[in-house]
Amino acid sequence: MDAKPIAKVVDRAHGAIDPAEGIAAVSDPGFGGIDVFIGKVRDVNVGRVVTGITYDLFEPLVLNEIQRLAAEVEAAFGPRLKLYVAHARGRLGIGDVAVVVAAGSPHRDEAFRACRQLIEAVKHQCPIWKQEHYEDGDSAWSEGCSLCHADSTPAHGHDHEHGH
């Protein structure tokens, strides 16, 4: 592993996530491939018009889990790999950046696959919750993935369709 993965939570009240920071963080003179996933707040979910999302996180555990999940990604696609994860906290509007995952490696295949595995793990296993706000003023916490049996395997104890 070239460097400890970078994991951070960015409170919307204090700033926005900058994808360029993720690219810089995983850059290396020996790396020819960087893949970046940017997750943004979209304006509709399951047919309802969404006006914004509030993200709630259990920060110390989120940071711990990202390091643990990144170690699994490094075991699979490293050791020449740099990883970066930033997730937003607080109320976001449509088009705001909710999450950035970046992976850098000598070649594109490892970068693509590492980035994909890490964003899926973050979505399914990190203690992060989204509350959607709708145009009629209503709000609802999203259905999600249960962590009840998540030990070190992907948490697929949930009972909903994979629209997320």
Binding site: W129, C148, A150
Partner: protein, 86 residues
């Protein structure tokens, strides 16, 4: 009896604006805490979807706890409903 301070996240944060509740648990394991909540939720928050408890995990500050794990010494536990990050 052990006193637990339960940090509330996601849908559970709607239960209390301080985002934590304290409760007495008759036992020392996470399973005992789950049982205490199973009894408490319908009484204290009858409008809450108590079934969410069955899909929720518990954690200390470092890791997710399993039902057979001992409750942490300091009594601080987080309840983690199904997650939906990204």
């Amino acid at each position: 009896m052990k006193q637990v301070t339960l940090q509330l996240f996601g849908a559970f944060s709607d239960l209390d604006e301080r985002r934590e509740i304290t409760l007495e648990v008759s036992g020392a394991t996470v399973a005992d805490l789950r049982q205490a909540l199973r009894e408490l939720l319908p009484v204290r928050w009858p409008g809450f979807r108590a079934g969410l408890l069955d899909y929720s995990a518990f954690a200390d500050q470092q890791r997710v706890l399993r039902d057979h794990d001992m409750l942490p010494e300091d009594g601080r536990v987080a309840i983690l409903p199904p997650v939906s990050g990204g």
